[in-house]
Every structure is written in structure tokens, then in C-alpha cells.
Amino acid sequence: MLLHQLAHEQRTFWRSREAAIFIFIFPLLLYTLLGSVYSDEIEINGISVPSADILLAGLFGYGAANTAFGGLAIILVGRREVGILKRLRSTPLPPVTYIAAVLSSTLLIFALQAIALVLLGRFVFDASAPANWLGFVGAVVLGVACFAGLGVGAASLIRSAEGVSAVVNVVLLPMAFLSGSFGPREDYPGVLAAIADVLPLTYFLDIVNGVYLDGESLFADPKALGVVIAWGAAGLVIALTRFSWMPRER
């Protein structure tokens, strides 16, 4: 039944053009644009790094947040408000199976996106291959886990289907910008840097940079890992206390 639902989730995702473009194509598009704009090397803390690498890591982070946080929040709120979730509740499909299928589907989509980013980087922008492959795969899972937690949490708080993509983008784009997804953030003024210092994406990008560029283990920076997990867990706690299958009453 999990596979049945997963197949359905995939079919629905790829058939719905807006979702497929916004979730899957958009980060790849941004990578192409930014990769063409930035010069070959970027200076970070006095060290010169290929911009294609920095951007690949940055858009990997943005992609994780976009797919798992943005995508899940939009899907779940949309389905809840038109009564799809409610309808499922009276069928024998166990809620846990449903959630598991939705999460696996998200993971699958982001894994494909990560592969596409790496291929695009390798063959178009001459970016490096991940230095630690295992860690890189781990980062895919970690990113989806953290941002899926936040996505479900957000879905529990957002009350209307009309508002959800606005809310998601108002959160997502500034977060990605501040965390350095779209380019180095070393020169940001103090206030912005201070905000960036609490965002999950900032720490997730530190981890991604570690495994992707420096070949570090996923667990090399316990503080960063801790912050990322804490954010995911916070989202999960909100979801567990506030999530509803029923549409908001008109």
C-alpha cells in the first residue's frame, strides 16, 4: 500500500506542471543563471573557491528547503483545504502509511534534483564532484528530514490554501538569500548576519559545504548538525500538536 500511494504521489507530482516546475526545475534554473553570472572563483575567508562549487552547494541547500519545506507545505495545505485529506481519513489507508508515502515521494524528488544539480555542475560549469559521496547522500536525507519537519509544521499553522505559497516564498527566498544559497554571505551587514546565524539553512549549508567540498563526514560539525535537527524537530512538534486532516470550516 505504501508503494501504491508512492506511485500515486509521483504521478500527481509530475503531472501537475506548476509543482514540477516550481519545485524541480526552479533550483536548476537558478543554478544555471547564477552559474553564468558569477566569476570563476569566489573568495571566501581569503580562500579562493570555484564559484560553480559554492553555488552548487548553495542551490542544493535551497533545493532541499524548496522541495521539502515549500513543496510539502503547499501540497498538504492544498489537499487539506479541498477535503482530500479528510476523504482519505475514512478509508482503510493508515495515516502513517500516507505520511510515509508523501515523505518518500519528497525524498525521491529531491534525490533526483540533487543528481541533476551535480550533473549540471559537472558537465556545464565544471564543478567538482562531491568529495565525500556517502556524506553527500546523507546530506540529501538530512536536508529532507529537517525541512520536511518544518514543512509539515508550517502546513499545520497556515490556515488557507490561498495564503500558502505566499507564506512559503516569503520565508524561503529571504532565508536562502541570507544563508548564502545564492552566493557568499561574508560581506553581509551585522543584522543580516545575526539573522542568518539562527536559520537552519545556514547550518545545513555548512554541513553540505563540508561533505561536498572538504570531504568531511556528515557529523564533522556537531553544532551545525544539532541546529538543523533541532529545527526539524521543532517543526515536527508543531505538526504533532497542531496538524489537522480537516479543512478549516468555511
Partner: protein
């Protein structure tokens, strides 16, 4: 005959608004039971408590031997639900939606058979977003039937149907009945309740104000009316025994050489009974 649904003294308030004030009824297995009432009477609240979507404040409920508040999987295997409002993923086809839901059940019906049963075979491969409102409603019905349920809940199943589609839906509900399904349906339409339901409960402001077969509801306490015009004046005579009264009236008119213009005998319709029941309670809140 076994009892499919027992509701006993159900109460439910939504912050201050008393939606149900002691609703009790039983539905026998194989029966079509109609809940008839105006907007806001408490039909959806009652049905959704039975479906397990809403919690009751007090009262007892048993659906196919289970308490729906716990919504055990064994119960969900055996019920089919048409919600008053719901949609499906717009990008799937009619057949795909049916197949999706069929996958949730242990013993589903054949998907194509169900698509045909609800009259959507021509739309089998059409995307949900291209369906008309009435066709979407039929899709709802098909999805409710695909698990081959014993008990089907239909919350206003024909609202938004054109007259022909309504007839088709009625035939379908009769077919379900002949298959031995138990059906609980809500409706605003008297003719629908009269046509389909073995028994009807009229619900008004959270109370059941009348319960019985359509014939019983019409029969209770209501007289026939004889109307005619004499010398241009309308006359209305109410009577328990229309045959006798009519005989007396016509003999007298014949004897006096007068005519009873526009003579008609009216049995009260369910509508009269209903408006009587519902209208009388309107200001009682």
C-alpha cells in the same frame, strides 16, 4: 434483521451553538434511511459523527458494531463516504482516482464496473479538472463504492444535479439497495426522501421532530383537503374521510342544481407535513 447504526441521545455544541440536542435513531441493515432537514438543521454534524470525523459531546453511537470515534480500520473497510464537499486531485483521470482508492481496500470492486455503475464510462480517461459539477459528484459516489462497502453515507448526494442526473442517481441508489447495502442519506429534497428512503427522520434545529416511513409521516394527523369554488367564492373543507364528505358535498350540489367549480381533493404531500414540522419549530429556538 441486524442493526447497522445506533445513535442514542447525541449532543454536540460548537462553541456555544447547540447543533445537536438529543438525536436518536436506528438504521437497520439493508435499509435506506433519510435524514431530511433545512440548512443548519444538524444533518452533516450527525453524519460526520457517525463517520468518525467529528466527536460527540455526549450520547452513544454504534456503527456496524464499532464506535466510530475510534475509527478502527475494520470499520473503515466497510463504510463508503460521500462528503457534502470534497475534491480530488485535478490531474488524475476518473479511472485513476478509482484505482487509487481501490488500492486502499482489501476486497475492492472492479474499477471499470464501478465507473460504469456511476455512469462515467465515457469520462473514464478524462482528467478530474475537466468534469462538470454533477460528474464530479458521481465520481464522489464511485469512489465511495469502490471499496465495496456494506454501509454508505451520502451527504446530499444529488445537490447540484440536473433532473435527469438526479433520476440516474436515484436509480443508482435503488440499485445499491437491491445489492443489500445499507444507506444513510441526507437531503433537503422531500421528493428524494419520499422516493428513496424506507424511513425518514425529519431533523430541525438539532432535534428529530418526526420519524417514520414516508407514508406514515404523511398519514399522521393530517386531513385531506377538498377545495372548490361556489358562486365565485373559494371553499376549503378539511376531512378525515374524503370519500364520505365528497359524496355529501356532490349530492347536495346536484340536488340544488349547483356546480362545484374547480373541484379538487388534495392529500397532504410530504412537503406539507415537512413544512408544518419545520415551520412550526423555526421560532422555537
Amino acid at each position: 434483521m441486524t442493526t447497522a447504526i445506533v445513535a442514542n441521545d447525541l449532543h454536540k455544541s460548537y462553541d456555544g451553538v447547540e447543533a445537536l440536542r438529543g438525536v436518536s435513531f436506528e438504521v437497520q441493515a439493508g435499509e435506506v434511511f433519510g435524514l431530511l432537514g433545512p440548512n443548519g438543521a444538524g444533518k452533516t454534524t450527525t453524519v460526520e459523527i457517525l463517520e468518525g470525523y467529528r466527536t460527540r459531546d455526549s450520547g452513544e453511537v454504534t456503527v456496524l458494531g464499532h464506535d466510530p470515534a475510534a475509527a478502527p480500520r475494520a470499520l473503515r473497510e466497510r463504510i463508503g463516504v460521500v462528503l457534502q464537499q470534497s475534491e480530488f486531485t485535478p490531474h488524475l483521470t476518473v479511472r485513476e482516482v478509482h484505482r487509487l482508492f481501490a488500492g486502499y481496500y482489501e476486497h475492492p470492486r472492479d474499477v471499470d464496473e464501478v465507473v460504469q455503475l456511476v455512469g462515467l464510462e465515457e469520462k473514464r480517461d478524462a482528467r478530474v479538472k475537466t468534469l462538470s459539477g454533477g460528474q464530479k459528484r458521481r465520481l464522489d459516489l464511485g469512489v465511495a463504492l469502490v471499496g465495496d462497502p456494506d454501509l454508505v453515507f451520502l451527504d446530499e448526494p444529488t445537490t447540484g444535479f440536473d433532473p435527469a442526473a438526479r433520476r440516474t442517481a436515484w436509480d443508482l441508489i435503488r440499485t445499491l439497495r437491491s445489492l443489500g447495502k445499507t444507506i444513510l442519506l441526507t437531503t433537503h429534497y422531500l421528493d428524494e426522501a419520499q422516493q428513496l428512503a424506507d424511513r425518514v427522520a425529519v431533523i430541525q434545529a438539532g432535534r428529530i421532530v418526526s420519524l417514520g416511513t414516508p407514508a406514515e409521516l404523511i398519514g399522521t394527523a393530517h386531513k385531506a383537503e377538498i377545495r372548490f369554488e361556489m358562486n365565485g367564492e373559494p371553499v376549503v373543507v378539511q376531512t378525515e374521510d374524503p370519500t364520505l364528505t365528497l359524496h355529501e358535498l356532490t349530492s347536495e350540489a346536484l340536488a340544488n342544481g349547483r356546480r362545484l367549480e374547480h373541484l379538487e381533493v388534495r392529500r397532504p404531500s410530504l412537503e406539507d407535513v415537512y413544512l408544518d414540522l419545520v415551520g412550526g419549530e423555526e421560532n422555537a429556538e
